[in-house]
C-alpha cells in the first residue's frame, strides 16, 4: 500500500512538472517571436510541405519532446544538454536556450539537432571534439519506461510475496500472470530444458522491457525508442553475451569440426562461424526494422492528408476520414506487432541459448 501511494505521488509530481515546463516554454517563446516574425515572413513563408523531413523528425532522436506547433509557437518540453570537451570542459544547459536552432548559446549551436561548438563570430569550430552525454528524448523515455516497469513488477511481486501462491490473483496480477506463464512454458521450458529457471529473469526482463518501450512509443508525442538502432544493438549484444556464456563443448565442436564428410567441412566451418554472429544481427535488425517501419507507415498515412491538402483544400479535407481510418487500422496492427516483436526477440534468444547448450546427439559418433 505504501508503494502504491509513492507511485501516485511520483505520477502527480511528474505531471505537474511537465505542465509547468510546457507553460514555461510557451511563455518563453512569445516575446521573441514578435521581433522575429517579420524576417521570417520575408524569407520562408512559402516553405513547401516536406514529408521526408517530418517523418525523419518523428523517427530520430531529439533534444526535446515536441508535441505540436501552433503558428510560430512550439509546444515542447526541452531536455537538458550535457556536453563535455577537453578544451571547454563540461557544459550543462537546457535545449530551450537554442530557440530551435536560431541562436548561439554559450559558444554552442544546434545544427539540425546536433550540438556543435562555435567560436565568437559564429563559425563552427571543427577542431573541438564534443562528447555529447545529453538526456535526449530516447534516454528520458527509456528511463521512464524502466522506472514504470520496475514499479509495476515489484508491486506484483510484493503481492505474491504477501499472499503466497494459493490465493487467487487480483488486479494487475491477472494480466501479468498468463503472460509470465506463457514465457515460462512456451519459451523457457520448451527451449531450455531442465534448468530453465536460470534464464527466466533475463528472458522475462527483456520481454517486458521491449514490450513496454514498444507500447509507449506508439503514443503520439513520445519518442521512438525501440526503433533506434543503438537501443536494439545493445539488446542484441546482451543477448549475444548471454548466449556466449551458456555455450558448452559440444557447441564449439559442432562449429569447428562438424560431423559431415570431409569435403564439405571447408564450406561448413566458415558458414557456421559466421552463423554465430548473424543470429544476434538478425535479432537487432528485425526489432529495429519492424518498429521503424510501423512508425513510418503511421506517420505517412497522416502526411497523406497534408499532401492531398497541398493539391487542393477540399481534397485534403475529403481524404482526411479515409486516412484516419487507415491510421487507426495500422495502429491496431502496430499494437499487435509490439507484442509479437517482444515475444519473437525473447523466443529466439531462448532458442539460441537452447541450441548452445545442447548435449551430444547419438548420430555424432559414427
Amino acid at each position: 500500500m505504501a508503494l502504491r501511494s509513492i507511485k501516485f505521488k511520483v505520477l502527480v509530481l511528474f505531471t505537474f512538472l511537465s505542465m509547468l515546463s510546457i507553460t514555461a516554454t510557451y511563455a518563453e517563446n512569445l516575446p521573441e517571436q514578435a521581433g522575429k516574425t517579420i524576417e521570417k515572413e520575408a524569407g520562408a513563408k512559402e516553405s513547401a510541405f516536406d514529408p521526408a523531413k517530418l517523418i525523419m523528425e518523428h523517427i530520430l532522436d531529439a533534444h526535446e519532446f515536441h508535441f505540436f506547433t501552433i503558428g510560430e509557437t512550439e509546444i515542447a518540453i526541452p531536455l537538458p544538454i550535457i556536453i563535455y570537451s577537453k578544451e571547454r570542459g563540461l557544459a550543462v544547459f537546457s535545449f530551450g536556450n537554442f530557440h530551435h536552432g536560431h541562436e548561439v548559446y554559450n559558444g554552442y549551436k544546434s545544427e539540425e539537432g546536433k550540438i556543435v561548438a562555435v567560436d565568437a563570430t559564429g563559425k563552427i569550430e571543427e577542431s573541438i571534439k564534443l562528447y555529447d552525454f545529453s538526456l535526449t528524448r530516447n534516454v528520458v523515455q527509456m528511463l521512464i519506461a524502466a522506472l514504470l516497469l520496475m514499479f509495476v513488477m515489484i508491486g506484483v511481486a510484493n503481492k505474491y510475496k504477501k499472499n503466497g501462491v494459493n490465493v487467487a490473483p487480483s488486479g494487475f496480477q491477472n494480466a501479468v500472470e498468463p503472460v509470465i506463464a506463457l514465457i515460462r512454458d512456451d519459451v523457457g521450458k520448451t527451449n531450455l530444458g531442465k534448468d530453465y529457471e536460470r534464464y527466466m529473469p533475463y528472458l522475462l526482463t527483456v520481454f517486458f522491457f521491449i514490450l513496454i518501450n514498444n507500447l509507449i512509443g506508439l503514443i503520439p508525442g513520445t519518442a521512438n525508442v525501440t526503433g533506434n538502432i543503438a537501443f536494439t544493438i545493445v539488446l542484441g549484444i546482451i543477448s549475444f553475451l548471454v548466449n556466449l556464456f551458456s555455450t558448452n563443448k559440444h557447441f564449439w565442436k559442432h562449429i569447428f569440426w562438424p560431423p559431415v564428410p570431409h569435403f564439405v567441412k571447408p564450406i561448413m566451418v566458415p558458414v557456421e562461424f559466421l552463423g554465430i554472429f548473424t543470429k544476434p544481427f538478425a535479432l537487432i535488425v528485425r526489432l529495429f526494422a519492424n518498429m521503424v517501419a510501423g512508425h513510418i507507415v503511421i506517420t505517412c498515412f497522416i502526411m497523406l492528408i497534408f499532401i492531398f491538402g497541398g493539391l487542393s483544400k477540399t481534397a485534403g479535407w475529403g481524404f482526411a476520414p479515409i486516412s484516419l481510418a487507415f491510421t487507426i487500422f495500422i495502429y491496431f496492427i502496430e499494437i499487435l506487432v509490439a507484442f509479437i516483436q517482444a515475444f519473437i526477440f525473447t523466443n529466439l534468444t531462448a532458442v539460441f541459448i537452447g541450441q548452445s547448450r545442447e548435449g551430444a546427439h547419438d548420430e555424432d559418433h559414427h
Partner: protein, 81 residues
C-alpha cells in the same frame, strides 16, 4: 552535363530503393502466405494442436518478415544516401 548525371544517379538510386522494397514485399507476401496455408491445413487436420501450430506459425512468420525488413532497410539506405 555533370549535374544531369548527378540527378540521373540520384533518380536511379531512388528507383532502385523503391523497387527493392517492392520486391521484398512480394517475397514476404508469398512466404508468409505459404506459412499460413500450411498452418491452416494442419489445424484443419488436427484441431487439438491448434495452439502449438499457431505459435510455430507466428515464429516462422517473424523470421520471414525479418528478412523482408532487411531488404526494406537496404531500400531506405539506397534512397537516403
Amino acid at each position: 552535363m555533370s549535374s544531369m548525371n548527378f540527378l540521373m544517379d540520384v533518380g536511379l538510386s531512388h528507383l532502385g530503393g523503391a523497387i527493392g522494397a517492392g520486391l521484398a514485399a512480394i517475397g514476404s507476401g508469398i512466404g508468409i502466405g505459404q506459412i499460413g496455408k500450411g498452418a491452416l491445413e494442419s489445424i484443419a487436420r488436427q484441431p487439438e494442436a491448434a495452439n502449438e501450430i499457431r505459435a510455430n506459425m507466428i515464429l516462422t512468420a517473424a523470421f520471414v518478415e525479418g528478412v523482408a525488413l532487411f531488404a526494406v532497410i537496404v531500400g531506405i539506405l539506397a534512397v537516403l544516401k
